[in-house]
């Protein structure tokens, strides 16, 4: 029976919590490790978690994974509370969730491409929202918001997400087959 995208039952509650905890811990841990950076793009592998959880479990799980995961990551690192960036990360996980009804087989190239398209959209919408809200609350101008906030965040998230989400989907396909869900 095909799951509906708006469902939020026991399964979604648990995987939203897992996604949030994973995103928070991996963000904190990969910050703590001295990861190399390539040019201006930082290695932020953790951003693939809310995107992946959104693709597999739906938009609500993706939103909570990103939103709460960012709060947890900031709480672990002592960075305070940045509400617009928490919501932006939530949107970054939520938008790929709308690809869930379009994906039948997690190993098919077509499914991986669809997921990647929604990953790109998610990063643009999520980081765009956060950067736009900085204009309203902090009073920065559009150029600073776009060049100083949106571009570095979105480019990093897109590159990390587009590469790692398909890898996670292929790995998950074996688990999904085994669990029968």
């Amino acid at each position: 029976m095909k799951k509906k995208w708006y469902e939020f039952g026991t399964r979604e509650v648990v995987f939203a919590a897992l996604g949030a905890a994973l995103y928070g811990v991996l963000s904190w841990a990969t910050n703590a490790l001295a990861l190399p950076a390539a040019g201006n793009v930082a290695l932020r592998p953790a951003v693939c978690i809310p995107m992946f959880f959104g693709v597999v479990f739906g938009p609500w799980v993706g939103f909570i994974s990103g939103f709460l995961g960012n709060i947890i990551g900031d709480a672990l690192s002592g960075w305070g509370f940045w509400i617009w960036w928490d919501i932006g990360n939530g949107l970054m996980g939520m938008v790929p969730g709308f690809a869930m009804p379009l994906i039948q087989n997690y190993r098919e190239v077509k499914s991986l491409v669809i997921a990647d398209i929604f990953v790109v959209l998610g990063a643009v919408v999520g980081m765009g929202f956060s950067s736009a809200m900085e204009i309203v609350t902090s009073g920065i101008d559009f150029a600073t918001a776009f060049g100083g906030y949106f571009v570095p965040a979105a480019v990093t998230d897109i590159i990390n997400g587009v590469i790692l989400v398909p890898i996670l989907m292929v790995a998950y396909s074996a688990v999904a087959t085994r669990s029968g869900r």
């Binding site: 939020f8 026991t10 509650v13 648990v14 995987f15 939203a16 919590a17 897992l18 949030a20 905890a21 994973l22 811990v25 991996l26 904190w28 841990a29 703590a32 001295a34 990861l35 190399p36 390539a38 793009v41 290695l43 592998p45 953790a46 693939c48 978690i49 992946f52 909570i64 709460l68 947890i72 900031d74 709480a75 672990l76 690192s77 002592g78 960075w79 305070g80 509370f81 940045w82 509400i83 204009i135 309203v136 609350t137 902090s138 009073g139 920065i140 101008d141 559009f142 150029a143 600073t144 100083g148 590159i159 990390n160 590469i163 790692l164 890898i167 996670l168 998950y172 688990v175 669990s179």
Partner: protein
């Protein structure tokens, strides 16, 4: 790798307040502060942020990383940007910058090939605007920094449930905080296991795409293990009829009189701000009359 929260029990007045009351107050102050561009009003909110910070009894050692980051961001990136461009504020500020005669420094530059003339300048009004921007951003940033250090992670779920979030979302929040130490331990085990196999995450080689792909041996096992374990938790919760009835919580939050006072204060600040900005039409960008005199104008 031990995952520990920055939160610590400090027995301060801030931590004795109901977390719901704190959230309501902080959100009221946030939505009040963003309505103003007059530095005189913004200094009031800056005072509230500083009071919240100091009453939390945080140490420099705990907060220096985030404070240095905020300071650099606000002063150098936003402040200098405001001085040079004057953009980002309300429309009347831009008009003031264009019409001002109080120019401290100006340069004229002709763009090659297209022949455009650009005249960036620094004026008294832009300096005041930069100071206003800095105070505004610092007020908002510092307001929420103490939360990570003073908000008990075990209370997130019951707090947001008390603020009106649906039961299932609140349970998800509680579960997420519960999973953090477990997943931290799993990450540590996976990292050590991969290192024993010759995987060195600090020395990834290759181009950007290759380096990101090489993160997969760290990310994939932790994620898939978590999902497999999650299926057992789902079954356990379903067997205990999760979601069929309204949920009760282990911790019960109760408002005390000081919490009502705090909520009332927050609502008063918000209502007052709306009245001042929308009713009295005050709070727009303001340049002190004595400011030009400081620069000989």
């Amino acid at each position: 790798m031990l995952v520990t929260w920055k939160y610590k029990e400090r027995n301060t007045i801030i931590q004795r307040l109901d977390p719901r009351a704190r959230w309501i107050f902080l959100l009221c102050v946030l939505f009040s502060a963003i309505q103003f561009w007059d530095i005189r009003f913004l200094l009031f909110f800056f005072g509230i942020s500083l009071a919240h910070f100091f009453l939390s009894k945080l140490t420099w050692k705990e907060t220096r990383r985030v404070l240095i980051f905020v300071f650099v961001l606000v002063v150098f990136i936003v402040g200098i940007g405001a001085i040079l461009t004057g953009r980002g504020g309300p429309g009347e500020a831009l008009t003031m910058f264009r019409e001002t005669k109080n120019i401290i420094w100006q340069v004229e530059w002709v763009v090659p090939w297209v022949g455009w003339t650009i005249r960036p300048n620094v004026s008294v009004e832009k300096l005041v605007f930069a100071a206003t921007q800095i105070v505004r951003m610092l007020s908002i940033s510092i307001l929420f920094i103490p939360l990570a250090f003073t908000f008990d992670p075990s209370q997130y779920g019951v707090t947001f449930r008390g603020l009106g979030l649906p039961d299932k979302f609140a349970v998800s929040m509680d579960l997420a905080f519960r999973f953090v130490p477990t997943l931290g331990r799993d990450f540590s085990i996976t990292l050590d296991s991969q290192r024993a196999r010759g995987y060195e995450v600090e020395k990834l080689e290759g181009g950007l795409i290759a380096q990101i792909r090489k993160m997969a041996p760290l990310i994939v096992p932790v994620t898939i293990n978590a999902i497999v374990g999650g299926e057992d938790i789902v079954n356990a919760m379903d067997l205990r009829c999760f979601g069929l009835r309204k949920r009760t919580w282990l911790q019960k939050l109760e408002y005390k009189s000081r919490d009502y006072v705090l909520i009332g204060l927050g609502v008063l600040i918000l209502a007052g701000s709306i009245f001042i900005t929308k009713g009295l039409k005050l709070g727009d960008f303001w340049v002190p009359a004595w400011a030009p005199g400081l620069f000989g104008f």
